[in-house]
Symmetry: C2
């Protein structure tokens, strides 16, 4: 497989507008809320998410630079190989955020904790499962975050 | 944005061969190890990952059924909307696994805890950061896992 196509299942409706305005990690700003608006043709895939508290949200950074292997995070001097960072500028610019579900109304999912810009395409959402996703013995990488 | 292209940055070298042979969640089988082989042209993006203990690994399930919004997990009766599951059969079949780094040798990353099939394309790897990714107050969704 050398190439594959992805199609957005929805879009983010966020108060964060231009590049540079998004907080580095949304979850660090308690209370920040935004909407994930699922496209009508995918609505049957949502349900009510009644037993899900948090979602992985896979975003597509359509304004990213895909032709870089070295990241220059603004919050550190120097550079770092891109796969050792969470930089949006990467070969496949898929963003990974975790949002806490606030409400589900039709095909609009309101979440807290995302750091996405307005109109960012959404590729997928998946339920977060602490039994497999909360890795308590993971070490904090050096300066992938501000 | 209606469509975008993804290109694998590497491939999984796994002992799990045919569909049906992969454990449901690799992390539940301690000690299972496999290799992520990064393509030569992306090698400069890895570095030594010296300060990273765990990686998110984004996979492309190239054998998935993308035309379904209702999942029928084999471990439960009935069905469930696909975005409330981790089923590989989904509109954008991007798998999300977490692997513990065992070793990094050149462009081969040995990890424990993945449940991927042999030759599964890898779209991205990202360092896991417990400060933002370990959600301790998340609730366990009902039966997304066996």
């Amino acid at each position: 497989m050398n190439t594959a196509e992805v199609h957005p299942i929805g879009i983010v409706r966020s108060p964060h507008q231009p590049r540079g305005d998004a907080p580095r990690q949304g979850r660090l700003i308690p209370g920040a809320e935004m909407d994930i608006e699922i496209r009508e043709e995918y609505q049957d895939g949502i349900g009510d998410l009644a037993d899900v508290s948090h979602l992985f949200v896979l975003l597509w950074f359509d304004r990213a630079n895909r032709n870089t292997l070295i990241a220059h995070p603004p919050w550190m001097e120097g550079s770092r190989p891109v796969f050792a960072t969470r930089s949006p500028d990467r070969p496949n610019p898929i963003g990974l955020d975790i949002g806490k579900i606030v409400s589900v109304t039709g095909r609009t999912i309101r979440v807290a904790g995302l750091d996405a810009l307005d109109k960012t395409p959404v590729l997928d959402i998946k339920p977060y499962a602490p039994s497999i996703d909360a890795i308590l013995d993971a070490t904090e990488p050096f300066r992938i975050l501000p």
